[in-house]
């Protein structure tokens, strides 16, 4: 892994198991398919607090920002049980 992705990987270590599972598996399975703009949106997304991220990633609501909402959907679709 390159160091930038390693940094993202570490910053996807969160205070909650649910977020660890979804974010880190997305880095393994979906992140490389994002374009540059979407990668920026992903970085914005993981700057949110854990309690803000959780309802997005559990599909309960979506961010108002369209690009971030798209990335949230990518994370949810990429997850494999």
């Amino acid at each position: 892994m390159d160091s930038q992705k390693e940094q993202l990987y570490w910053r996807c270590r969160r205070g909650m198991l649910e977020l660890d599972e979804l974010l880190q598996s997305f880095l393994d399975q979906g992140f490389d398919k994002l374009d540059d703009e979407q990668r920026v949106a992903f970085q914005q997304l993981i700057r949110l607090q854990d309690q803000e991220l959780l309802p997005y990633l559990l599909g309960q609501t979506l961010p108002t920002d369209g690009k971030m909402a798209h990335v949230v959907n990518c994370i949810r679709h990429a997850y494999r049980p």
């Binding site: 892994m1 160091s3 390693e6 940094q7 990987y9 570490w10 910053r11 270590r13 969160r14 205070g15 909650m16 198991l17 649910e18 977020l19 660890d20 599972e21 979804l22 880190q24 607090q49 854990d50 309690q51 990633l57 559990l58 599909g59 309960q60 949810r76 997850y79 049980p81």
Partner: protein, 589 residues
């Protein structure tokens, strides 16, 4: 090797609620404080605590701290130290109000007072009617407390070292702790943080088990640092499991599902709880349901290709009830299993939740060890609070709502004691007298750099977690635990020969994960060795071959030393501070 060195009055390792509460007390008293955290502080696991914080405010039902104390002693199955429990329960109301003044938005009643909800194990009048004792900020109490404490620390000018990983404690020849060796994750650089006092607040070690509810950061780092410094861990055999987590993943499926009418099925489609608890069935207590699931799986009646879980069926409740009353559970299942519980059952297995054991401390947060005739002599300069510590207010089993209370009460108490210690110890002790411990920590790091071939960290961690789950989970017998000790000793040897997949310096998460794996090995051995020795069933430690509590032989705390996997014991502090002791009696709810 010349290492960069920074000096502070106090070093706090871990930035969850316990560490931040202690740091705040110190910074407000004008001590210079460094907080080291391997992740950004508000991503500590305190953020996941949803339930709330117990305090006998009596806003909803009649209540007082003495009833809270009784419930906590009884909940601990009489292994809790009654002086520390009295101290905690007395302090609770004051600290809830203090948190509110600091900015925690506790939910309110219509009359404006703080709302309190009932929780299991809470009673009025020493075992009478249900009490409502848990204060909550909606379902995000931990988050609210953590953020408030972080902001207060920023205001008080606490110095944060974010994304630094603590490697080991530095101890001089006289046994004083002088700080820690830490690693800056971003660059791979090492740094000595020299401090007159060091406080460990690194949280629990739920990652020991394959199925657990904990964030991936919970790898027992502080506990393992203490073991490597020659200090024992206390009561590590006591680990709280929740009966229904998503199998193999750990996310909690609340009891509410069974409360609404959901029930468990084994691989034969049998509703097996009827055999274990003919009356309560699926609503039997957590430990009974957890053990029943483990027995079904061990006896070959599990579900799935590996027969390693059971099913929680709730589709018969109907889509309307599930969507209305259990929406969060449905979202969790759809997200992590891609199944809708409206149509399909949920694969579940007992999930590891909370570490009752930990670093032995007194109620001032001082780390204490037996020395000659005294069972509890403080290690000068070393403190611990929160889930990594064992003070011991939870004893053999923690009550819901007592963990947030524990971190706030003892974080503050430790901060106050450190302030006194700093008044009497005005100067840093010479670091050259701790050179041996620096060399040992550097040698441990160097070993990982030297090996270029061997098993990988990921494989070994998975094997460790499976081993701990199968041989030291909820189903425990002498035979099973003996095999567990043997297998964990083998894993220890294999980890000593394992290799890093990446040797670079910048954001090398592989190196951090390797060091975390070593911490899991150290704390895992402490857990399984302590569990093998304790030949009784008490609280969360349940032995099929010793099904009763045995106060004659076992009303005592275990102390595990890493050297030769040795065990020692010390008495439970039965005498409270001011009130009569609660003597052990059968624990019936």
């Amino acid at each position: 090797m010349n290492l960069e060195c920074r000096k502070f009055d106090a070093l706090v390792i871990g930035a969850g609620g316990g560490g931040l509460r202690a740091a705040l007390q110190l910074s407000q008293a004008d001590a210079s404080v460094a907080v080291v955290s391997k992740v950004f502080p508000t991503r500590s696991h305190t953020v996941a605590a949803q339930g709330g914080m117990n305090a006998a405010l009596a806003n909803v039902s009649p209540d007082n701290w003495h009833w809270h104390m009784y419930d906590t002693v009884k909940g601990s199955d009489y292994l809790g130290d009654q002086d520390a429990i009295e101290y905690m329960c007395r302090a609770a109301s004051h600290l809830v109000i203090e948190l509110e003044h600091q900015g925690v938005p506790f939910s309110r009643l219509d009359n404006g007072k703080i709302y309190q909800r009932p929780f299991g194990g809470q009673s009025q009048n020493f075992g009478g009617a249900q009490a409502a004792r848990t204060c909550a900020a909606a379902d995000r109490t931990g988050h609210a407390i953590l953020h408030t404490l972080y902001q207060q620390n920023i205001q008080a000018r606490t110095h944060f070292f974010d994304e630094y990983f603590a490697i080991d404690l530095l101890m001089d020849k006289d046994g004083f702790v002088l700080g820690a060796l830490v690693l800056r994750i971003e660059t791979g650089e090492l740094l000595i943080i020299e401090a007159k006092t060091t406080l460990l607040a690194t949280g629990g070690v739920g990652r020991l088990f394959r199925t657990n509810t904990n964030a991936r950061i919970n790898t027992g780092d502080g506990m393992a640092m203490v073991l490597r410094a020659g200090i024992p861990l206390q009561d590590m055999e006591f680990f709280q499991f929740h009966p229904t987590g998503i199998a193999g993943k750990g996310m909690l499926i609340t009891e509410g599902v069974r409360g609404e009418g959901g029930y468990l099925l084994n691989g034969d489609g049998e509703r097996f709880m009827e055999r274990y608890a003919p009356n309560a069935k699926d609503l039997a207590s957590r430990d009974v349901v957890s053990r029943a699931i483990a027995v079904e799986v061990r006896e070959g009646r599990g579900c799935g290709p590996d027969k390693d879980h059971v099913m929680l069926k709730l589709d018969h409740l109907g889509s309307e009830i599930i969507k209305k009353r259990l929406p969060g559970i449905r979202d969790t299942c759809i997200t992590f299993l891609h199944i809708d519980p409206v149509e399909q059952p949920i694969p579940v297995f007992p999930t590891a939740h909370y570490t009752m054991g930990g670093i032995p401390t007194n109620r001032y947060g001082q780390v204490v060890v037996p020395v000659k005739q005294s069972p509890e002599e403080p290690i000068p300069g070393l403190y611990a609070v929160g889930e990594c510590a064992c003070v011991s207010v939870h004893g053999a089993n923690r009550l819901g709502g007592n963990s947030l209370l524990d971190i706030v009460v003892f974080g503050r108490a430790a901060g106050n004691h450190i302030i006194e210690f700093l008044r009497e110890n005005r100067y840093h002790r010479p670091m050259q007298n701790a050179q041996d411990s620096i060399d040992r920590a550097l040698a441990r790091l160097a070993r990982w750099e030297q090996r270029r071939e061997g098993e990988t960290v990921d494989e070994l961690r998975k094997e460790l977690q499976k081993t701990m789950e199968f041989y030291c989970g909820v189903f425990r017998t002498r035979d099973v635990l003996e095999q567990g000790v043997k297998k964990m000793l083998e894993i220890e040897q294999r980890v000593a020969q394992a290799t890093l997949r990446d040797h670079s310096q910048v954001f090398n998460t592989a190196r951090i994960e390797a060091l975390e794996l070593e911490n899991l090995v150290d704390t895992g051995l402490a857990t399984v060795v302590s569990a093998l020795a304790r030949e009784e069933s008490r609280g969360a430690h349940s032995r099929e071959d010793f099904p009763e509590r045995d106060d004659q032989r076992w009303l005592k705390h275990s102390l595990y030393y890493q050297e030769q996997n040795r065990l020692d014991y010390k008495p439970v502090r039965i005498k409270p501070l001011t009130v009569e002791s609660f003597p052990p009696k059968p624990r019936v709810y």
